[in-house]
């Protein structure tokens, strides 16, 4: 099996940069959201479409990132 339609893009989620990596494997779309700096995976989602995979990943990433507290 070969991954297809690989893409990577950075989006802002409540002031945090999130890197979305998406590709198709077979008939499923795989998305990974990481926190750019340092790049640790926040969530990994498998869905039927690119749109679903990315939107679910972003929603879960947003929830996780809301727990990070900025200090003065």
């Amino acid at each position: 099996m070969k991954p297809e339609h690989f893409s990577e893009r950075k989006v802002d989620v409540d002031g945090w940069q999130v890197n979305l990596t998406t590709y198709q494997l077979g008939d499923k779309w795989h998305t990974k959201a990481d926190n750019v700096s340092p790049g640790a995976t926040l969530v990994r989602i498998v869905a039927d479409t690119r749109e679903d995979a990315e939107s679910i990943a972003l929603a879960r990433a947003k929830k996780l990132l809301s727990r990070t507290q900025r200090r003065a």
Binding site: K2, S37, G39, T68, R70
Partner: protein
């Protein structure tokens, strides 16, 4: 263009595609996200989980020698096997595994330049069934641990007090400054934010290109040279738990040829929890300013 100090430790994705199933080659995926392998991996590659197989699971330490020998034997790796490591996040934990292989004296360890990301981006074959190599017929024999590659707390404390080493903090600028206590979205694992006084900030990812490969030697030299890294003074790299800094350790030791560089794997989860340890807060000073 100049070359890396030890170009033999890097292989490209094309080399791996051609040699992954060679009898004397074992490809090992080591990810931050240990589920990545199951999603699809280099055909023939096995996986090591950093959080269960590459550490002592009772006390905080690297994998003990006896367990290391068992892991390699069961992975079908002999003392003369070429071990090619790759992983997600531009080879973060692949570098962590490489560091341990060198601590235990493995001769031929290499990293696939660009890691998992480049393999995927190039649309190369993936297997989903886990590879199950036969254990080595001859048990793996590790050397005694080479702790010249590793810094422990007293060494770092001494270096900080006497400014006898260049301390390189490879975490993000926000972790360095103390704005956040852990990478965004991850649990906080320290009591105090900031950095070891005197440390220079060089986030680990600056050593990589967008495609996950390592930057060319001239750029790496410029990047680290501007922060005081040279052959004339020991270098101690640290991060939060020692894995990002093993990536920087790899870059400095094997790509730039810095002889005296160590990975302080206790890192900020040790220093930032120590009672009475000095801490500095605030953004990094521009390169060249002390």
């Amino acid at each position: 263009m100049s070359t890396y100090a030890h170009p033999e430790v890097l292989v490209d994705t094309g080399w791996v595609a051609s040699h992954a199933k060679d009898a004397n080659v074992r490809v090992v995926e080591v990810d931050v996200d240990t589920k990545a392998y199951d999603e699809g991996h280099v055909p023939g590659a096995i996986a090591w989980a950093w959080n269960t197989q590459l550490c002592d699971t009772l006390i905080r330490d690297i994998l003990p020698k006896a367990q290391f020998e068992v892991l390699l034997t069961q992975s079908g790796i002999g003392n003369d096997t070429t071990v090619v490591l790759y992983g997600d996040n531009n080879n973060w934990f692949a570098a962590w595994a490489f560091w341990q292989l060198k601590i235990y004296g493995h001769k031929d360890a290499r990293i696939m330049d660009g890691g998992r990301k480049k393999w995927l981006a190039e649309g190369r074959d993936l297997d989903t069934a886990p590879a199950k190599p036969a254990p080595s017929a001859i048990p793996y024999k590790a050397t005694e641990p080479d702790y010249s590659l590793r810094a422990f707390l007293p060494q770092v404390q001494q270096a900080q007090k006497t400014a006898s080493a260049v301390l390189i903090d490879v975490r993000s600028p926000q972790e360095f400054s103390g704005e956040i206590l852990a990478p965004p979205g991850l649990p906080e694992t320290c009591q105090r934010g900031g950095h070891i006084p005197g440390a220079r900030s060089v986030p680990w990812g600056k050593a990589c290109n967008d495609d996950g490969t390592f930057k060319p030697p001239e750029e790496l030299q410029k990047l680290y040279g501007a922060e005081g890294v040279s052959q004339s003074k020991p270098v101690i790299a640290y991060c939060r738990i020692g894995e990002r800094s093993s990536h920087t350790w790899f870059v400095l030791k094997y790509l730039l040829g810095v002889d005296n560089v160590v990975n302080y794997d206790g890192s900020w989860t040790e220093w930032g929890n120590l009672v009475g340890a000095p801490v500095e807060k605030g953004a990094a000073k521009p390169a060249g300013q002390g």
